[in-house]
Amino acid sequence: MPLPSPTPDKTSDAAMTRRSFLRGTAAVGGLTALAASLSPLRELDEFTNTEQFLQKYYKELTPDEMARVLKRIEGEVEKQYGVRPHVRDLKPMDGVEFVYCLNLTRCIGCRKCVHACVAENNQSRSPEIQYIRVLRLPHGSLDIEKAEHNYDAKQVPEPGFFYMPVQCQQCKNPPCVKVCPVNATWQEKDGITVIDYDWCIGCRYCEAACPYWARRFNFAKPQIPKDRVNPNMAYLGNRPRKQGVMEKCHFCIQRTRAGRYPACLEVCPVGARKFGNILDPESEVSFILKTKRVFIQLKEEMGTSPRFFYYFDK
């Protein structure tokens, strides 16, 4: 870059003025700083993808564009994790609203649901991300302040305690959706609050807004061993996330929108977890809400109106 001629200098150092020296130093320093500040970009090789960068908002994608996006994701996942997945974009069904019921009389706190969820939904194993948090509470209290989730017993259930697994409550009035500045998370008509991982900017407002600590942030690139990747994926569901985006329980969209039960329910050894369509009067959840002692929507006073109900058998 030719520098403009410096003003003629009366001093002896005519070749190098203070100004040109500072300019040169600033230019080199600036370039160095720029190179240094951009250097982390070299680690983001899998994200420097114009196709993804220019991708439209989920709700504006035409079926053709969606098909291209799914193909791109399949390619990316195969490149990163060595497994060819089957990624689908499953839409909510008409006349279906999902509700989850959890039987606190039955839950033994074995945490199998936590790990079945991790296995089903391709959560990062390292660092660890888990959607379900199993709280241990002393008998006779429902005070969440007394809850402990790091219990390390040889055998469960421990005498004197009961267990309350907490995950995304799929609220009817979700505070996380309200705070999202880019509409990357929204509630679908079947009641599932979803996240578009390609649209999320990672501001973590939703994590702060959620009263149930249900949202998780990918602080690092998720690590999933090849033999533990679940290839049955959905765009709004369990496709692998990237560093810097939020994720949370989505009622196993890739299973439930295909008519199946969620993974945490199928693994529960005591049958404490019940799931179904609340608009169907014959479903298990309708039966439970009609006949059982359904005692809470967790933190009911927050006005979030969860679709996740806790109940007792006896």
Binding site: S39, P127, K146, V267, S283, T291
Partner: protein
Amino acid sequence: METPPRPTPPAPAGRTNLWLGGVTLLFVALAAMFAKNLWGHVEPQKPLPLVDKKFLDTTPWRKTYADLVKAKEDLSDYDCYGCHEKGKPPPIRFDDKHKIIIPKEHSNIVMGHGSHDRNDHCWNCHNEQTLVTLQARAGQDVKFDNIPALCGSCHGPTYRDWEAGAHGRISGYWDRKRGAAERLSCANCHNPHAPRIGGREPAPGPHPLRDPHPAPATAQPAH
């Protein structure tokens, strides 16, 4: 960087150029080191241990007679007339505390049904006339592959819940139009002779938050 042509610089300018060159070199070196990531290099985190696959297992705890028939497995346990005589109820002996004495041929049976083991008589559920069937509360004959009918004859509310899908495990399809839901039978989880289910080993807790000194139950949850 171009500078306009100048007359031969005097000595002080040479010193300045030397400085400028040195600084430039320093910066170039810095840039190269940044680019090579010689420092600030984050050690990759040691991968956390993976959870044992036994915690991901969805198979039921027990196998019922119906499962054994389906899987064409060994049914010799149900071959009552291999030892017993047809039409002749086997005698049942009690000790001096009126506890049933389990014969050594049936030593695998643990009697523990009901609070205080009150349901402690074989013929409460087994049919003494035809040993290959069971008998419900009101005396109806129940086949071994139809256990819920037997259990339901006493455990009414539980049977009602089970029928509605609210008690017990279920898997498969919630949407019955797309596929079947797989229901488990009572004996898939409960041992009919001792139905209370004991403790289990829990799967590992959340790793990054695991505290070597567990907090008392009244502590605030870490989050």
